[in-house]
Symmetry: C2
Subunit: 135 residues, 2 copies
């Protein structure tokens, strides 16, 4: 039984308005929200797809992880977030397979459990795992 799904794809940009010309105006995705997140020093915009969403992230200062990513790598895809049924079991299974985890135990944000997997174990992709919400 394959219960895993893409929740969102995060994209780091230097200008939200010019990115929205493609994602919202050109492609026609509904803008699900746009907000400042001072705690993380970013401004984010959410574009809704039928089965997932695109999260555009603009650094609001030069110090955050995404600001440094943008300075080093340029704009582009930052991470993919995959929902799993049991994040504790999945992290244990990953550790046993020899996968390098950034968060060995889940962290919590807005009531959601999450953990990041190191790109060196995934083929260069920063992967975020989400505990699937209970419906």
């Amino acid at each position: 039984m394959n219960e895993m799904r893409i929740n969102h794809l995060a994209v780091v940009v230097d200008d939200l308005d010019s990115a929205l010309v493609f994602w919202r105006d050109g492609l026609g995705l509904p803008l699900g929200g746009r907000e400042d997140v001072p705690a993380e020093a970013v401004e984010v915009a959410f574009l809704e797809l039928e089965n997932a969403h695109i999260e555009l992230v603009r650094p609001a200062d030069d110090e955050s992880g995404v600001a440094k990513y943008l300075a080093k790598r340029g704009a582009g895809m930052h991470h993919v977030c995959i929902e799993v049924d049991d994040i504790h079991a999945k992290l244990k299974q990953l550790a046993e397979a020899g996968v390098e985890l950034i968060n060995e135990t889940p962290r919590e944000r807005d009531g959601r459990l999450y953990a990041f997997v190191h790109p060196k174990s995934t083929g260069g992709v920063l992967v975020e795992l989400y505990q699937r919400s209970v419906a």
Copy 2:
């Protein structure tokens, strides 16, 4: 009405087996297939999620576009593919919004219409559009 969905996320890797340690063995995604594609000088592996798939791509020579991408950028996410209902209408809408297209008219592969959008218009993301299959 939002009919668009993520079809797949393509990841360029230098070694399929080590990437599969994470995606298949650790995360537990079913391997939907693995094959050489001599026409494009790549080897690909498909991992199935509930709502999309991950496509791992390993260059088989040094000349292809993905080989050059790997040499320049390192392993990581290469493009995201989004299904649309009417690719001709969508490309027209994108052009009218001033979005730069790599393919101004759809190309065809295996009976599927597709077109790429230039990363400079999307916030650094290479976006592939797919004509949604008729069920």
